[in-house]
């Protein structure tokens, strides 16, 4: 499956980047209290953290809150972090924990209203199309429970191996497989309904 393999390679590349020389130097300086160096570390990882948080939480505002909390926790514990370890993996783990904590505090999600976007089929600017895609993604993910969502985001969208997902979410691999299986079934159902409604809307026009 080429698409799936590419996703995994992308994540691996991101993780390995932190082991390069400049990143290590920034990490050492940030540990020593250099605020500029910590700023550089944030710039390197902020987009990925916000993207992960957005996928897990479903709202950009919540994602920014989660990212802020993540980097604050990193700053607080940076002094005890061993710079020989993988900083990106450590940061990622913190982000997942922060998102899990925030998701617990959120109210239960409202039932999904499957609405076919009226803009489908019309000529759109790139930003509008992307905005539409983001809405679709969030609608699909909102059909899942919080645990299913976390499992499928980490496994299918972030490309992390099942064993590592189990460690991040603090449960067994068999539990993760069960949640991923259930999540993929629901995504398939959502996709089938979306295609059906899209076809009906196309026929109606």
């Amino acid at each position: 499956m080429p698409g799936h393999a590419a996703g995994i390679m992308l994540v691996t590349d991101n993780l390995d980047r932190s082991r390069e020389g400049p990143a290590d130097e920034m990490l050492v300086r940030a540990k020593a209290g250099d605020s500029e160096a910590f700023n550089v570390l944030m710039m390197r990882h902020e987009q990925r953290v916000v993207r992960l948080a957005w996928r897990l939480l479903g709202s950009r505002e919540d994602a920014l809150d989660a990212a802020q909390e993540t980097f604050f926790r990193v700053f607080r514990h940076l002094g005890t972090f061993d710079e020989r370890r993988d900083f990106a993996a450590w940061l990622y783990r913190i982000a997942v924990n922060v998102c899990r904590d925030l998701a617990r505090k959120r109210r239960p999600e409202t039932p999904l209203e499957l609405v076919v976007e009226s803009a489908v089929g019309e000529a759109q600017e790139d930003e509008a199309i992307e905005a539409q895609q983001r809405r679709l993604l969030q609608k699909a993910l909102s059909t899942l429970t919080a645990k299913e969502r976390a499992a499928i985001v980490l496994r299918d969208l972030e490309g992390i191996e099942t064993a590592e997902v189990a460690r991040l979410l603090n449960c067994t691999q068999s539990t993760i497989r069960s949640q991923i299986c259930s999540a993929r079934m629901k995504i398939r159902t959502f996709h089938e309904n979306y295609i059906r409604l899209d076809n009906e809307a196309g026929k109606g026009q």
Partner: protein, 211 residues
């Protein structure tokens, strides 16, 4: 392998989440089962669709506002730490002072209470003998430290061993058997201190027997 079982685990098959043996069994089954092959195709399409729409949510622009928020929060945390530091120092000093005062007080109290000897009244034989040498204060080691017992003002003291009491005997009867004082109408009171070698004898010239 039944189609029912395949239906349940095909979501894991398309994500490459099964072991090699089970993957091979499903692959062989799909070669000859159209409905299961159709189901597998649907799962692959939905998985690819999910990945394609997720590419649009990638944050491409830097997030300076996020960095500002983080910096502000760090500064706020540092300020509150600096405010708390003098309060913590004052609390530590106050605790140390209180402990010092408490330990000094307890030492003082223990020293003053141990200077009073234990006193018990026991019957014993007394003789008013010749003027004895004044009893000098006895130095006695108590728990690795020496202390001075108080000097008992008395004209004379004779150290005598106590006379054992008969079982059940009343104290007054026992005392009545003791030799009388050479001084008539006198009252004699003996006090045995905690030190078995020292007994306090009080002689009074008032009349009246001991009740």
């Amino acid at each position: 392998m039944s189609c029912t079982h395949i239906t349940e685990i095909i979501p894991l098959y398309v994500g490459n989440d099964l072991d090699d043996a089970e993957t091979e069994r499903i692959t062989n089954h799909l070669l000859s089962c159209d409905p299961c092959r159709s189901l597998e195709s649907q799962y692959r399409e939905s998985s690819a669709w999910l990945k394609s729409v997720s590419m649009s949510d990638v944050e491409r622009d830097p997030l300076p506002a996020l960095r500002v928020r983080v910096s502000q929060r760090i500064d706020s945390a540092n300020r509150s730490q600096q405010l708390k530091a003098p309060i913590r120092i004052a609390a530590v000093l106050a605790t140390a002072a209180a402990l010092l005062i408490a330990s000094t007080l307890s030492l003082y109290l223990s020293a003053s209470t141990k200077s009073v000897p234990e006193i018990a009244i026991v019957p014993g034989r007394v003789e008013a003998g010749p003027a004895a040498e004044p009893v000098s204060p006895v130095r006695r080691k108590t728990r690795s430290r020496q202390r001075m017992l108080p000097i008992v003002p008395s004209p004379s003291l004779t150290m005598l061993p106590p006379t054992p009491l008969a079982p059940g005997a009343h104290l007054s009867a026992q005392l009545a058997k003791l030799p009388t004082s050479p001084v008539e109408n006198s009252v004699r009171i003996e006090i045995q201190t905690a030190d078995p070698t020292i007994r306090i004898i009080w002689l009074s010239s008032e009349s009246g027997g001991i009740e």
